[in-house]
């Protein structure tokens, strides 16, 4: 699964995103996190509500201006770009899928115009006919058809709307997509539909995903690697199998223990592990406990985690 030869498409280095900086109400939503995403890979970001995972996604897509740190996208530091031309070039390559399908489509625009918004902006069609054709192709890509193009968003179900949102993001032919909890507002049968669509599109369009969610089992299903966030920090990163089976940070363990399984035998004996936050040590940072598997800890803790992990692998 881990392929070191692949190009790193996105590299986040020491990203900080503070709100109301310097005031009493300062919020450190994202506090010094670093990770990378390779081309064609899905990187899952999990954590509880308010831990900063959505903020991370929005900073990367430049909906916010980062307080500090570098965001290297294809070698270019997009945390620093200011001019409209540069921003527009970045927007072509990086798009976002939003959480709430009921809020992410403008209720006053026809589906056709929603999907074509990016086309009009970056690569205008020569005439109305060509524009329509391109919109229809996008709709077909996500399993809708041209009869839907002239309708308004409120006429669609949640799953259909989410697919319209996906079509809008794909219209620019981006290379990288931030999926900000794209399935958590949908019911379970539709979740599978959307996740499968995302995976098919990843293969056919050669996309790279940053997949944000709070449902570890879904993230494990779709991701190649997983990052676990807690309180603005990245506490554990690694390949998804490794995290799912041998996650060693106490917060990861707590998250894993919360996953329900459709098995009454298991459910009866399942014990939730509560996470008691510990103040991090002075020299805490991400340290390797296994190849590609990093945990946020101090030097001393690292060896303990390493042993814990190895014991689990052997047992």
């Amino acid at each position: 699964m881990l392929n070191t030869n692949r190009k790193k498409l996105l590299e986040v280095d020491g990203l900080k995103q503070y709100f109301n900086k310097g005031q009493k109400t300062e919020v450190r939503a994202v506090d010094d996190i670093s990770f990378y995403i390779e081309e064609g890979e899905t990187f899952g970001l999990v954590g509880e509500s308010g831990c900063g995972k959505s903020t991370t996604g929005r900073s990367i897509i430049r909906l916010y201006t980062p307080t500090a740190g570098r965001i290297l996208f294809d070698g270019e530091d997009i945390a620093r770009i200011r001019s409209r031309a540069e921003i527009l070039r970045f927007r072509r390559d990086a798009q976002m899928i939003f959480q709430d399908p009921y809020a992410s489509l403008n209720p006053r625009m026809k589906v056709k115009d929603i999907v074509a918004e990016g086309i009009d902006l970056h690569d205008p069609a020569k005439n109305a006919r060509e524009r329509d054709e391109r919109v229809y192709r996008m709709l077909e890509l996500v399993g809708l058809d041209e009869s839907h193009a002239d309708r308004y968003p409120h006429e669609f179900s949640g799953g259909q709307r989410q697919r319209i949102g996906i079509a809008r993001a794909l219209a620019l032919k981006p290379r990288f997509i931030v999926c900000d909890e794209p399935i958590s507002a949908l019911d379970v049968s539709i979740q599978a539909q959307v996740v499968n669509l995302l995976q098919d599109l990843q293969k056919s369009q050669n996309l790279t995903y940053l997949f944000i969610a709070h449902d570890l089992s879904m993230v494990k299903f779709i991701s190649d690697r997983i990052g676990v966030m807690y309180y603005g920090k990245l506490v554990e990163v690694g390949p998804s199998e490794e995290i799912y089976n041998y996650g060693v940070h106490p917060y990861t363990e707590s998250l894993l223990s919360a996953i329900p399984l459709p098995d009454p035998e298991y459910e009866r004996s399942r014990k939730r592990i509560a996470y008691i936050p510990q103040p991090p040590g002075a020299d805490a940072k991400l340290r390797a406990v296994a190849p590609g598997h990093f945990v946020y800890c101090t030097e001393a803790e690292a060896t303990a985690y390493q042993e814990k992990r190895n014991k689990r692998v052997c047992s």
Partner: protein, 360 residues
């Protein structure tokens, strides 16, 4: 195919079991599923856009509908009368002063040209005959103490009121909406500065603004409009700002930012259409306010000056003679009230139509 058969089976069982003997299994045909994926995504309901949907709702609101008709009639009459009823509202005819209303063919007291005789005993006499008005001359709403035709003056006054209404709406839509959008969309420091300016402007009572204007300009419609330019759009600006702030963090606006859309396009394409209901309603409420503002100023003598006709000056002249010649006050009072009530009821109806969730 399995599904198809089961539908037929259920119907056949019902036919015998429940006792509807007339139901024959052969009457039913299997449900055709030609293209499952297509059928699943199909959307059969008719597509209504925002305006069609609102119109459907406002049609059910009787008071709003009546108000709309009344307003259309009033506006139509006020402006077509410039050509169809070309009487100068300021032309005096002292020989015909203080004549009561007289409408041809109407014998209802008060509209037949009779009035109580002031000199003796309260008997009703034909004023037109008493004043020696020639046969065939009718003043539908009577005349005032200078013999000016009240109907012509009323129509002139309505034109002034409606002009003020139009100016109020125009200022709301231009200065108010733009100010609110810019303030709300940029936020932070720009917003702080713009809101402080607004608070200073809102702190000055508009009567004071007008009186200050009067030190430079002559009283009249121009001065009233100037005063409205200074303060008339403030409540609209505040409402638009609040709505903009609410909407600018909506995901569809964020999506537009992600696509690389500029602020101006976001304001015009994403925010404005979604607050249009609120904007229209606020505009409709500010119109009667402005009409009343003008009438009030003209009444106390700070607005239009006699002999110019306005609902305010008509009221001012009418109330002095109310006890002897009540029609001189009734006419402008009823007109002003009908105008304001109609605008208010229509605004109410529009609010319910644009945002049915706000009703409760």
């Amino acid at each position: 195919m399995k599904d198809d058969r089961s539908i037929v089976d259920i119907d056949a069982n019902n036919g015998t079991g429940v006792g509807t003997a007339s139901a024959d299994p052969h009457d039913f045909s299997p449900l055709k599923l030609e293209n499952a994926a297509y059928e699943r995504e199909k959307n059969e309901s008719p597509s209504l856009n925002f305006m069609q949907d609102s119109w459907r709702r406002i049609r059910k609101n009787r008071s709003a509908l009546i108000s709309m008709v009344v307003l259309v009639l009033l506006i139509g009459v006020a402006f077509t009368s410039i050509w169809l009823f070309p009487h100068d509202p300021n032309r005096q005819n002292l020989a015909h002063s203080n004549l009561p209303p007289k409408i041809p063919g109407v014998t209802v007291r008060g509209f037949d040209g009779t009035a109580a005789d002031n000199s003796g005993g309260g008997a009703f006499i034909d004023k037109y005959a008493a004043e020696g008005v020639p046969e065939g001359v009718y003043y539908y709403l009577g005349t005032d103490n200078l013999g000016r035709d009240l109907l012509a003056r009323l129509l002139g006054g309505m034109r002034v009121s409606l002009l003020i209404a139009f100016v109020a709406a125009f200022l709301d839509l231009t200065i108010g909406v733009t100010y609110g959008l810019v303030s709300g969309l940029f936020g932070e420091r720009v917003d702080s500065v713009m809101q402080r300016i607004l608070e200073v402007l809102a702190g000055i009572p508009n009567l004071v603004v007008l009186i200050l204007m009067l030190t430079i300009f002559k009283p009249g419609i121009f001065t009233i409009i100037l005063a409205m330019i200074v303060t008339g759009w403030i409540s609209m600006a505040r409402i638009v700002r609040a709505q903009t702030m609410k909407l600018k963090n909506q995901e569809y606006v964020l999506a537009a930012v992600t696509l690389g859309q500029s602020k101006a396009v976001i304001a015009a394409k994403h925010i404005l259409p979604n607050i249009s209901g609120v904007v229209i309603v606020q505009m409709m409420f500010s119109i009667p306010q402005a009409i009343f503002f003008e009438a009030f100023l003209s009444f106390i003598g700070l607005g239009l000056r006699p002999p110019e006709a306005s609902l305010g000056t008509l009221l001012n002249e009418g109330y002095k003679a109310f006890r002897v010649l009540p029609y001189q006050m009734w006419v402008p009072t009823v007109t002003l009230s009908v105008l304001m009530i109609s605008f208010n009821l229509l605004a109410d109806g529009l609010r319910d139509a644009f945002d049915p969730k706000m009703k409760e």
